[in-house]
């Protein structure tokens, strides 16, 4: 029997095993479908709109009401309540009902008209960093706009009229901002291109460890090896093959959903990205084999896989950059294929860098394929029960 025939035999047996218990298809197909549906509907808005905020308007003048109306007119924020005292508003902030408070002092209009430079205070809640940052940005913007409006009136009163004369004074240096590949700072684009492959790697490691670990635990290794005619290479390859196909399909299918259907930015080539996905799947399968090879007791291997798999979300460096971590923990980032996948994603999808810049990351991911060979002997001993 040729090694190919042996491998096919093992793969055929594995497919039967996959279909015999719901856990295999649940932890691959169902989980990925669920996560795609969850995250894509969850972040469908792109940027949070109508963030609730409160106003304490002790002035209740024409000017303060105009300010409130202008804030309300912005898409991202909404004044949901008027408070008579600041402490009432703060309590609602502590209850999580509002993310920001605008505090207009009494006599604001009178002080303004008397040219004595009144002050508007606003407070944002950065315990919710995203809501807080966005509210802060919008409130700063609207305040600047308000200042500019009053300035314009003052300058016009002094005979400075027309945009060509007013603008250089109002805003001497204009800022022309280019947000590369994500012009609206869409939150889904930040997160999902890495978060979803993150879930994929979690499921790959878990199922790899589980599928081999279950044989060891249930002492069915003789039957498994038998299907491969005692060839350990055929037994391992054949066992992995159905999962490789399944996860590659799920991974590339995911790429198509993100970059084709959802039109997430793909400035480079989807082909390179898909190649990265294939190597990514293989690398994580290799890691799974390595873990169960080192810790043949499945309970240990599964716990370790869970620990490592969850750390990938941190060490991808897509939410909190690796460079910002203490140097002592930075070095571990290299031990996660998702880190290299993230770099390829940035180069391909966002920056459209020439492929030569990404080769090093492809090489790094490929290097993980050595891992199974390191535990090959140890694993063979385990199988020969």
């Amino acid at each position: 029997m040729s090694i190919i025939q042996q491998t096919i035999n093992v793969a055929r047996r594995e497919i039967h095993r996959m279909l015999s218990r719901p856990i295999y298809l649940f932890s691959s197909v169902f989980v990925m479908f669920f996560c795609y549906i969850f995250f894509l509907t969850f972040f469908a808005q792109g940027l949070p709109e109508q963030l609730p905020m409160g106003i304490v308007d002790n002035d209740n003048s024409y000017v303060s009401r105009t300010l409130a109306r202008n804030i309300d007119a912005m898409a991202q924020v909404e004044i949901v309540k008027q408070y008579s005292t600041f402490s009432e508003a703060r309590e609602d902030m502590q209850r999580g009902k509002i993310y920001a408070i605008i505090d207009v002092a009494p006599n604001f209009e009178a002080v303004l008209l008397a040219s004595r430079q009144p002050k508007i205070m606003y407070y944002v809640n950065d315990a919710y960093l995203i809501a807080g940052s966005l509210s802060y940005k919008d409130l700063t913007y609207i305040s600047e706009l308000g200042t500019a409006y009053v300035q314009q009136r003052l300058l016009q009163a002094r005979g400075i009229v027309g945009d060509e004369n007013l603008m250089p004074i109002l805003q001497p240096v204009a800022i022309d901002t280019h947000l590369i590949a994500n012009p609206y700072a869409n939150y889904g684009i930040y997160l999902l291109n890495v978060l979803l492959p993150g879930v994929l790697q979690l499921m790959i490691i878990m199922l790899t460890v589980f599928s081999i670990g279950a044989e060891l635990k249930e002492k069915t290794t003789a039957e498994w090896l038998g299907a491969g005619n005692q060839s350990v290479l055929a037994a391992l390859t054949g066992k992995m093959l159905p999962y490789t196909v399944l996860f590659v399909l799920l991974g590339i299918g995911g790429n198509l959903i993100l970059y084709r259907y959802m039109h997430y930015p793909m400035n480079g080539s989807l082909a390179w990205m898909s190649l990265a996905t294939i190597i990514y799947v293989l690398a994580y399968q290799a890691i799974g084999i390595f873990i169960i090879g080192v810790f043949p007791r499945m309970r240990d291997a599964i716990s370790l896989s869970a620990f490592y798999g969850l750390l990938a979300f941190t060490y991808a460096g897509f939410t909190f950059p690796i460079e910002a971590m203490p140097s002592g923990v930075q070095i571990f980032a290299e031990l996660f294929p998702i880190r290299h996948y993230f770099k390829i994603y940035v180069n391909e999808a966002l920056h459209n860098a020439p492929i030569s810049y990404s080769l090093i990351y492809f090489a790094a991911m490929t290097a993980f394929l050595i891992l199974p060979f390191l535990v090959y002997r140890r694993l063979r001993k385990q199988l020969d029960v």
């Binding site: 949070p48 999580g96 430079q117 919710y128 995203i130 240096v173 800022i175 947000l179 878990m206 941190t314």
Partner: protein, 409 residues
């Protein structure tokens, strides 16, 4: 009458003793199993230390960028210097054109480019509006934020100086110029996370999730192991047959007692150790955690009936940790979560636990302010207690064979 009373006390005493026995049995079970000790005590000790260390720098500082200064005048060099002086940015490359910036950008050595055009100073000298272009790496929210904070600050500062010059030139001077430049002042204040830190924002949610998930996976491991070893619900099918109530109470007291200690360590000690937000009243935090722990315990016991092997809980449900984290509304604001997912989220103790803890711990709310979450958790605890009773009974009725083994028939 008197007799009846004695009977009641005798019964009460008897049942309480039984519950305590069940609890002690469960403690023995947990501490004899090294895997469970690792989850309940090892992971809960290690995870908070690990994640607090990783995120302890809170934010991106001195992010490397490139500057293309084609103006190359004292005015433009002043701007570059001011950009470099911000805590957010650091000018790593000074280049001649945008083309040159591509290489370090593609190597991901820099995360932004600032372009000052040739006519920058001329325009300022001619009393026109000058323009500066910013190119920001969008691969991470924190890169974008550092770029915007640093560049906006420096450019606005330069703009303010020029504005004063120009007002002076048009005959508006002194206090009058100051007033025209800023007819009213505005001041933004950041509350509850003054440094806009990432750890201060993420860790409180993660800490609750650690409690939730270790407890959940520990309990599913107990159930899976029991099933594998064919001693499913041994405690009630043999010794305490039909006594679901006492069994549940006894077991839950064991987990609860263990996790009050774990919770105090994770929620009270860790934030102080790592300078994370901790302005809440410790007593309020612990009181809030009582219904949280009970709802997690009974939720986990309900689910664990469906777990057949020790390891399957982790394989099947680990991904859900990520879902729970986002569904809690700590990041994407709760007000903007689709009603369907918000409703779905009410099924899980983590949702209310994370919200309530952030409010008390990070925002100094007291128990009154988190009444909604507090009551919701008690309701969950009650509902999941009942569902656990139901599924235990169903499991017992469904597995007469297993029962027979237990009874030695």
């Amino acid at each position: 009458m008197n007799n009846k009373k004695t009977n009641f006390f005798a019964w009460f005493f008897h049942e309480t003793r039984r519950i305590i026995y069940i609890m002690l049995d469960e403690f023995r079970l947990v501490f004899r199993d090294s895997g469970l000790v690792v989850v309940f005590l090892g992971a809960t000790a290690l995870y908070p230390l690990l994640y607090s260390s990783i995120y302890r720098n809170e934010t991106v500082r001195e992010m490397p960028i490139a500057v293309v200064d084609q103006s190359n005048t004292s005015r433009s060099r002043d701007l570059v210097q001011r950009i470099d002086a911000t805590p957010d940015l650091s000018v790593a490359y000074r280049l001649n054109n945008l083309e040159e910036a591509k290489d370090p950008f593609h190597r991901q050595k820099i995360h932004g480019v600032i372009f000052i055009p040739k006519e920058y100073s001329e325009k300022i000298n001619r009393n026109e509006q000058a323009t500066v272009s910013i190119y920001s790496d969008m691969s991470s929210f924190l890169y974008y934020r550092a770029m915007m904070l640093g560049a906006n600050f420096a450019i606005l500062q330069v703009g303010k100086d020029i504005k004063t010059e120009r007002l002076n030139a048009s005959g508006i001077t002194g206090q009058s110029a100051e007033l025209t430049a800023a007819p009213f002042d505005h001041e933004g204040n950041i509350l509850y996370n003054e440094g806009m830190g990432f750890a201060s924002f993420l860790l409180p949610a993660l800490l609750i999730l650690m409690i939730h998930q270790t407890l959940f996976f520990g309990i599913t491991m107990i159930a899976g192991t029991a099933r594998e070893e064919q001693r499913i619900h041994e405690d009630f099918s043999v010794h305490h047959r039909g006594r679901f109530f006492q069994t549940l109470v006894g077991k839950s007291w064991c987990y609860f007692g263990l996790y009050m200690v774990v919770t105090a360590y994770i929620l009270l000690l860790i934030p102080r150790l790592f300078q994370l937000p901790h302005i809440g009243n410790p007593m309020d935090i612990m009181r809030f955690m009582i219904p949280f722990l009970f709802s997690v315990i009974f939720f986990s016991m309900t689910i664990s009936v469906f777990i057949r092997n020790r390891e399957t809980g982790l394989v099947v449900f680990l991904f859900f940790s990520v879902i729970l984290l986002f569904m809690s509304g700590f990041s994407w604001p709760q007000s903007n979560i689709h009603w369907f997912w918000r409703t779905f989220g009410t099924l899980f103790p983590a949702t209310f636990g994370i919200q309530g803890y952030i409010k008390i711990n990070s925002m100094g709310a007291d128990l009154n302010h988190v009444q909604f979450e507090y009551v919701a958790l008690w309701i969950q605890a009650a509902v999941y207690f009942i569902t656990t009773m139901v599924v235990y009974r169903m499991a017992e009725n469904k597995n007469p064979a297993e029962k027979r083994i237990q009874l030695g028939e």
